[in-house]
């Protein structure tokens, strides 16, 4: 239970909160990237180097940018006039709180029963190992994901494509 974890957790949670609470949409997006960065650092803290960098590359490099683009394309960049929240936000909050309560309770309850011996032992996982695993044991999921990504790419393009005049 290191000191770094506290900092990173604080950073991440702060970013997440900001992303959810801020009024200006673009600020939310930027805060989201902060959260992403925090998560990436958490991954690194967990010795998951590859996952961490992948997180940065994909989420900060791609998803965040996508979000920003979407915001600008939907003219969402200027802060909304009325309330930023939908009807009866309290209900939503309560429900979220319930979920957190359940999850937290489950976590604490279950980890309490965990045998304490299995915590240390830093795994030495090189990128090569990951590559091998991807190419051998997880090759089928890899292919499927590749297919999915292609489909998603095409789908996204078609969905967001600009209809020509008169087609609608």
């Amino acid at each position: 239970m290191s000191f770094v974890l506290y900092i990173l957790a604080a950073l991440t949670v702060a970013g997440g909160l900001a992303a959810v609470l801020l009024k200006n949409t673009v600020h939310c997006a930027l805060a989201l990237t902060v959260a992403f960065a925090g998560l990436a650092l958490l991954f690194l803290e967990l010795d998951a180097q590859f996952a961490g960098f992948a997180q940065i590359l994909i989420y900060i490099g791609a998803v965040a940018i996508l979000v920003v683009f979407a915001i600008l394309l939907t003219r969402g960049s200027e802060t909304p006039k009325g309330s930023a929240y939908s009807h009866s936000p309290l209900v939503g909050l309560v429900i979220a709180a319930c979920v957190f309560a359940v999850l937290g309770w489950a976590v604490l309850h279950s980890t309490a029963q965990l045998p304490p011996g299995t915590t240390s032992a830093t795994p030495t996982v090189t990128v090569a190992d990951i590559g091998n695993a991807l190419m051998t044991r997880y090759v089928l999921p890899l292919e499927i994901v590749a297919l999915l990504l292609t489909a998603a790419l095409i789908g996204a393009v078609i969905v967001a494509m600009h209809e020509k005049e008169g087609s609608r």
Binding site: F53, L57, G61, I65, S77
Partner: protein, 391 residues
């Protein structure tokens, strides 16, 4: 003696930290290295700026800066002082926080990239197992700062410039990655040092640089194009196209923040040329075995400066593209070719030694290049606008 010259900085560092208690030595060493980087590359940046201004001047039949000091050698210093002392204007309607954070983030990110570059033998700040990936991840997040700068300025030129820049960076990041992947694939490692070591060997005194293989050569060209676009250098400098958007995403920046952007841009260029050097030009290894006595870091710096000169040369030579041409070029020409290059590299790997693979690989790449260029020209892929901003 040669060994000493080669390792001079390492030894120096160790000597310096040796005064500290053992517990602090390791962090101190790191700190030292960081400082060294943060000092060295801005210095190079100053030289480059001078070089660029003078070189461009020559190319355009005029003297460059020649007033400050002998041959205007102190021009960068003057510029630095000027930009430091200038008033820092922040537009009233601008989003102050983001407006401030943008250049900082850029510079930070850009400098972070150097962490994994082997500047010389045993001169890698953090020898990461996934170094190249790290570099790209960091590079990707520089787009964010560009966007922040453009958006926070509340200025349509800035915004358009930023959107252009981001779109362009995203588009060219893909071929950049793809062309580097070939190297990674061949080396079998994402570790920069390993990649350099793989190239740092000689037959008949000639190096095993990847640029001296068909796929490596093609990959290097693609990488160079993508890198030029990635760093918004001409001919891909639309985001800063003075004729259309005053100065692109840092129109509203002045004083030190502008200087930071300036710095960030050039240091980023150096960083990415450092990556290119590492990937294709054998990193810090000497071009000929007989030149091995020259210290490795000198080679690395030399190669970086050389590529900077190329950047300058290109800027002085080529006209600027149009936005849709830019996009089509990325998606319809560079990306397919880099994908093909990946396959060719794989083929190269499995065609064993011998002469045949040279012929086959070069032939495939050459034919693909010619055909695609022809088709692209005929179909006028560089034709009507294909890219839209917010409607």
């Amino acid at each position: 003696m040669i060994e000493k010259a080669d390792q001079i900085f390492v030894l120096l560092g160790h000597w310096l930290v040796s005064f500290l208690p053992a517990a602090l030595q390791k962090p101190a060493l790191v700190l030292l290295a960081v400082v060294a980087i943060i000092v060295t590359f801005p210095a190079l940046f100053a030289i480059t700026v001078l070089l660029e201004r003078k070189g461009l001047g020559r190319m355009q039949n005029r003297y460059g800066p020649n007033r400050v000091g002998p041959y205007g050698l102190f021009q960068p210093v003057a510029d630095g002082i000027k930009s430091l002392t200038k008033e820092d204007i922040v537009p009233l309607s601008a989003d102050a926080v983001v407006h401030f954070l943008a250049p900082v983030l850029l510079v930070v990110v850009v400098f972070m990239g150097y962490a994994v570059l082997p500047i010389g033998r045993n001169m890698t700040l953090v020898n990461l197992d996934a170094g190249i990936l790290f570099f790209f991840a960091i590079g990707a997040s520089s787009e964010l700062s560009v966007f922040m700068a453009g958006w926070s300025s509340r200025n349509k030129y800035s915004l358009l410039g930023a959107m252009r820049a981001v779109a362009q960076m995203i588009s060219y990041e893909v071929p950049l990655l793809m062309s580097s992947l070939a190297v990674v694939m061949i080396t079998g490692s994402l570790n920069a040092n390993r990649i350099v070591d793989a190239q740092n060997q000689y037959t008949y005194g000639l190096p095993h640089w990847y640029i001296f293989t068909p796929w490596g050569f093609a990959g290097f060209l693609l990488f160079a194009v993508a890198a030029t676009a990635e760093t918004n250098r001409s001919p891909f400098d639309l985001p800063e196209g003075e004729s259309e958007l005053v100065a692109g995403y840092f129109t509203e920046y002045s004083g030190f923040k502008f200087a930071l952007f300036f710095l960030g841009e050039y240091v980023g260029m150096m960083g990415i040329s450092g990556l290119g050097t590492t990937l294709f030009l054998g990193g810090y290894s000497a071009p000929l075995q007989v030149l091995g006595f020259v210290p490795s870091w000198a080679w690395f710096i030399g190669k970086i400066m050389l590529s900077m000169c190329v950047f300058i040369w290109v800027r002085g030579t080529l006209p600027r593209l149009r936005q849709d041409q830019l996009m089509n070029f990325a998606w319809k020409f560079v990306l397919p070719l880099s994908l093909l290059n990946l396959f060719v590299a794989a083929a190269w790997r499995f065609m064993g030694q011998g002469f045949l693979r040279w012929v086959v690989c070069s032939a495939v790449l050459l034919i693909a290049y010619v055909v695609m260029a022809r088709v692209g020209m005929k179909r006028e892929h560089f034709g009507p606008r294909s890219y839209r901003y917010a409607e």
